[in-house]
């Protein structure tokens, strides 16, 4: 993948997840969780903006961060299928976040040390500290829900089983394949501590990195982009 392509893929992951987390604002189970999800979403949004801006610079075609986020169609987005999945119940949101946080921790660690592009390296070095807070939040809730009531256990197990099919995709690319073993070790540890079972269904679904998405991304983009598209150049 070209450097611009890589930057956009990571930016899209963070942009789409930020949008999903933003959907929780004013609806989360508790005020503290509401604020935490908004905070985490904001971190992802900040990362997305920095990466889009760098991609625009390298592309040199006069596009801006907003053009990438607001004026591209579904097929041009190359985010992972995992991050576009609907929020579902709180357990779904937590499982999605946890699986992704565990991946991003490894990604940022690697890029902060090894990225050739100085800007990407800087974004990674900044993001890793935030990702540690995200991971503490999501793994803490994995354990609390898994180890909580019968109902919370049932829901978080169902979410884990359902979202597992979108995890292979994180390691499909040659540059991230190497994270898989460490990622699995970390996930297994938390799943065990949460008294949950690792999913057994081998079915996997991929395609996001090629722009082939689940039905959910189109609706997310419609909501996210309508203002920018209906009122081109709008500012406030």
């Amino acid at each position: 993948m070209s450097l611009v392509g890589t930057l956009l893929a990571h930016a899209d992951d963070n942009m789409v997840l930020a949008q999903r987390l933003g959907e929780w604002i004013s609806k989360a189970p508790e005020l503290e969780i509401d604020i935490a999800l908004a905070n985490i979403g904001l971190d992802h949004l900040g990362v997305a903006r920095a990466l889009y801006t760098r991609a625009a610079e390298l592309e040199g075609a006069g596009r801006t961060e907003d053009d990438f986020a607001m004026l591209r169609d579904e097929r041009e987005f190359t985010n992972l299928l995992l991050v576009e999945q609907p929020n579902g119940d709180f357990a779904h949101t937590i499982v999605r976040q946890f699986l992704f946080d565990a991946y991003q921790l490894l990604l940022w660690e690697d890029l902060a040390a090894n990225a050739e592009d100085e800007t990407l390296k800087g974004v990674a070095a900044k993001a890793i500290k935030e990702a540690r807070y995200h991971h503490r939040f999501s793994s803490g809730w994995m354990i609390r829900l898994g180890d909580g009531t019968e109902e919370s256990h049932r829901r978080v197990q169902a979410a884990l089983d359902q979202l597992w099919r979108f995890t292979d995709e994180m390691f499909e690319d040659g540059s991230t394949a190497g994270y898989r073993a460490a990622w699995e070790r970390g996930v297994i540890e938390v799943v065990a501590e949460a008294s949950l079972e690792m999913p057994t269904d081998p079915y996997q679904r991929t395609g996001g990195r090629k722009g082939l998405h689940t039905e959910h991304l189109g609706r997310l983009l419609a909501e996210m982009q309508w203002l920018a598209r209906s009122h081109p150049g709008a500012t406030w």
Partner: protein, 151 residues
């Protein structure tokens, strides 16, 4: 020229943080550089968190501060590297935070209640009123307070 640049630095450094108005951006350590390039003032700032929503406001406030000081041509640049950490907050900044009722950054087990100085507060939420703060409650006097969490 050194004096002129120092004076310009002071203009920028005195701009207050919109979310924690007790601190200036100088105290917070997010002001990285102030320089003059081809007749315009170039101010470099860095965000505390990647998505800090105050950056745009700070940029506007920096411009306004320079306009008041008679400088109309100002460019504000944002850099991410080296990543800001709470170590960039000055001693003066830490003192002001505590006076304001926000526990300054440090190890979680060393946080003291800014009101009664009791140790071992209870962590209510790791994500508080802004991205950079966590919410705590003093286990002695019961005061809820923000902790500027370590980054």
């Amino acid at each position: 020229m050194v004096t002129a640049t120092t004076a310009l630095w002071d203009v920028a450094a005195r701009v207050v943080d919109p979310e924690i108005p007790v601190l200036t951006i100088g105290d917070l350590g997010i002001l990285r550089d102030v320089d003059v390039e081809e007749g315009r003032v170039v101010v470099t700032i860095t965000p505390t968190y990647s998505g800090c929503p105050a950056m745009r406001r700070i940029e506007d406030d920096v411009r306004a501060a320079f306009a008041r000081a008679g400088h109309e041509r100002v460019e504000v640049r944002t850099v991410l590297s080296p990543a800001w950490s709470t170590d960039w907050i000055t001693e003066e900044g830490r003192r002001k935070l505590e006076e304001f009722g926000i526990a300054p950054p440090g190890a979680e087990h060393e946080v003291l209640c800014p009101r009664c100085r009791a140790d071992r507060p209870h962590l209510v939420a790791r994500f508080g009123s802004t991205a950079c703060k966590a919410l705590m409650v003093c286990s002695s006097c019961g005061e809820p307070f923000d902790w500027f969490k370590e980054l």
